[in-house]
Symmetry: C2
Subunit: 221 residues, 2 copies
């Protein structure tokens, strides 16, 4: 567990908490760690979830395949982001989507009950932890709302532009790279890949942006 300390320090959940205390907290929270290789399932639809997870390294996709075989990437979990928070209530059913490692990933599992109950050993950082946990869940919410923003755009072009401009803002540069390949981006935005590819090229021809592989450049108006 010690070897993850440097990873953990970087994520919001443990911000403002010293190295030494992180270890004791992990213990206090019954934390466990597991690595997943690319393509491996972290959870499958129908499973019961009793933990709250944080992604310490790598990248995960929350995805769902419908009756007709269409894959939908509901959300992408990035480093420091939380997942499983929708299943911590007593009456929440089984998982309705798959969680899959988009690349080699390290996942932290926490005992939810321990987080929410005041630490029996009066762990001095519990207050800080609860606060950080709220921040993490709040970030998660933000990313869901952000995605709703892309999805509520009516056309493929608008979906693309809202996603790309958002990504540019997030990476603080008009020149940035994305983690999706074309098919994944289409699955994420819930559009047809070829139509999206077509639209991307139109945007390029109109001089609004440029791209090579997963590197994008947005041009000023």
């Amino acid at each position: 567990m010690e070897k993850y300390i440097s990873l953990l320090k970087k994520i919001k959940l443990f911000s403002l908490i010293g190295d030494d205390d992180i270890l004791s907290m992990l213990n206090c929270l019954n934390a466990t760690v597991r690595e997943y290789s690319k393509g491996e399932y972290v959870f499958r639809q129908g499973e019961y979830i009793r933990n709250l997870m944080i992604l310490a390294e790598g990248r995960l996709h929350i995805q769902k395949e419908d009756y007709w075989g269409n894959l939908n990437i509901l959300n992408e979990i990035r480093i420091g982001e939380m997942f499983g928070e929708a299943y911590i209530t007593p009456d929440s059913g089984t998982l309705i989507s798959d969680v899959i490692a988009a690349e080699t990933s390290t996942v932290l599992f926490f005992d939810m009950e321990r987080i929410l109950t005041v630490c029996p050993s009066a762990c001095p950082f519990h207050t800080r932890l609860v606060k950080n946990m709220f921040y993490a869940i709040s970030d998660k919410n933000k990313s869901l709302v952000r995605k709703l923003g892309y999805m509520s755009q009516r056309s493929t072009r608008e979906k693309l532009l809202s996603y790309l401009s958002d990504e540019a803002k997030r990476q603080n540069s008009g020149s940035f790279s994305i983690s999706f390949n074309r098919q994944q981006l289409a699955d994420f935005l819930s559009v047809d890949r070829s139509a999206m590819s077509n639209e991307l090229c139109k945007l390029r021809n109109e001089g609004m942006l440029d791209f090579h592989k997963n590197e994008f450049v947005l041009y000023e108006v």
Copy 2:
């Protein structure tokens, strides 16, 4: 504030907490209450938010108008649901959407800092409250994911069916009523109203469902 106790008892945030304690907790959390009449703005885009809100009565819409005047209902807040949770982190900016009362509504405002910090007077129900707060935020996340499920459907027909069947499940009956009118439903699902209206009638002609005004009946296959 006392007159809201009966309202508060019904919402999850105060579940498993006795009448007497609710009052002292409201005090502990610096809670305030305000009523909004139908159509009134609770918050406007660009405002700073420093509280966490719970809807005690009525119905709210989180909505956004884009450059071209298209209205998008990002989410509907129902009784007992929380909002503003995405803005509790120190570095979250201003509100990116409007919050508007879809009908006469009662909103509770809480001091976020008080919730997250251990009660100085050692309020005995603080642990319970924190847990309930997590449950509430978890519910909120669920509703966002649920909406992403509708939005990720490719066609208007599929969006309608996924929304309606979900609503039937939620109301435990194939016969139910919805709170949206046609335009609002279209704005919620991000589709064109007339096209949606058309699709609804097609579904009715095919014998899959029936409706009068906001009353819907789904038929078995």
